[in-house]
Symmetry: C2
Subunit: 256 residues, 2 copies
DNA sequence: CCGGTTAAGTGTGAAAAACACACGATCAAT
DNA sequence: ATTGATCGTGTGTTTTTCACACTTAACCGG
């Protein structure tokens, strides 16, 4: 945006001081040096859907102490990357998955949240379709899908992170037709409804649901049918990303 | 929650390693040492309302270079405080205001967002009633209220922060009767409506607005009238925090 | 090949919420 | 006493939401 933004924080901290051009750099160094630095972690709440229910990935700690304790996957942000990149890297490193929908959730910063060292953690949540994104790699010997309702106690403040992520996912689901990230490319209405039911944790009426979605006009009904699911077979649908994006720009609302 | 959470990140980073109980601490130190630390800043978007329109506080940088550039108020988080505390401290230091509604907004982390040094900034937004919270102190020689629509270009990514804060405020206003923070304790319906109109940036119908709020049942009409505002005088209302909190727990929705 | 079984697809009417809309009341100032 | 400014109020219309039950297609087994 601007060219020289060097004294942003300096200006605020010492508004009376008027440094000369000759020593900007030193002053900044001096100033910054007095400030504390902290470790910045990212933790990922990875939601998945597998035709039945909403799940999340947890990793089991395999060593003492705390053997048997579960945790979100996480890692530290490096100096040469931003938080989004760190979250994507952590996800890829630990699951082999890339190009996944991720969204920043909240920064957790309680002083004693990590007894090891002062760490601030920024939680991210990710959405993936379980079936079409099988994990690869040994890292995940310890990782496991948990049905949301059966998630165990987690270390640190990870349970709070999960709760907040669920709340966010729920709000997203109710206000915009998110959730396609959680389904395969082609899906049936039944699957979509099951997804919404498990996100919102309540039963929805079949007809009202389909009507609502039809009126949103972001689905394309294909000529194919999924014959495995019923004698009669169920139409497959595809998400119309273009129409969706156009509607997002127009700022459409959506209520379930 | 649990007692010994020490190896949370270690476990994830090196799942194959199984440290002995005797050297937990050293291993953790070694591990943590290899990770980068960064400066963590907080920047505050301070919204205010003064009977007419929505404003925000900006501080003018008074020294070269960048003289005349505006910025949000901000500062760095210290090791012995969390982000909420840091935000409250920054707000109090620079404006003398304490006990103000604040909410974490988003963490900004682009590598080059602050050319001075690698800094991640967590934005907070605050809501205050301009009239009953006059600034004190010299610090604010450089601070100034700006009507939202007339806010200037800001340093770094501060404009993006403001945009996001406005979006959040708008969503809040539409889904829960927030905004009482922005009004004096007693207020007229007209003021409340003017506030909502300036948050949502559109005209609302007087009768529908009052009906909507009446049906929410979180306002108490006082016997007093504000006679300055019209010949006839306008009823004063008070926010019923108890009822409101009860409703929030029941998870009420609200749409404007 | 025919009847039985299973899940899919489909539309309407009632209730609730949202919206548009206009005029009389009050009091101060002149 | 008249004027002017602004407050306060209620109803009818439209839109959205919700509840609800039967027919259809295809496979399966006898």
């Amino acid at each position: 945006m601007q060219s020289c933004k060097f004294f942003g924080y300096l200006a605020r901290a010492a508004p009376g001081v008027r440094p000369q051009l000759t020593n900007h750099y030193n002053m900044a160094l001096t100033y910054y040096k007095t400030e504390d630095q902290v470790l910045l972690a990212v933790d990922c709440i990875i939601f998945g859907f597998d035709e039945e229910e909403l799940k999340l990935v947890l990793v089991k700690r395999s060593m003492e102490p705390e053997r048997g304790k579960w945790s979100l996957i996480g890692g530290f942000m490096k100096k040469d990357e931003d938080l989004d990149q760190a979250a994507a890297r952590v996800l890829e490193t630990l699951t082999g998955l890339s190009d996944i929908y991720m969204e920043q959730l909240y920064a957790y910063s309680k002083v004693d949240r990590d007894p090891g060292q002062r760490t601030v953690s920024v939680a991210y949540f990710a959405l993936i379709d379980v079936a079409s994104h099988q994990f690869e790699g040994v890292q995940l010997e310890t990782a496991q899908w948990f049905p949301l309702s059966q998630a165990p106690h987690l270390i640190f403040d990870h349970n709070a992170m999960v709760e907040k992520a669920v709340a966010r996912l729920r709000r997203r689901a109710m206000t915009m037709p998110i959730g396609f990230e959680l389904l395969p490319e082609k899906f049936t209405m039944r699957q979509l409804q099951a997804l919404y039911e498990s996100i919102l944790d309540k039963k929805l009426d079949k007809r009202n649901f389909i009507n609502k979605f039809k009126s949103l006009d972001v689905l394309i009904r294909l000529d194919e049918k999924d014959m495995t699911v019923a004698r009669k077979g169920a139409y497959l649908y595809r998400f119309d990303k273009e129409k969706y994006d156009r509607k997002v720009e127009e700022g459409f609302s959506f209520k379930l």
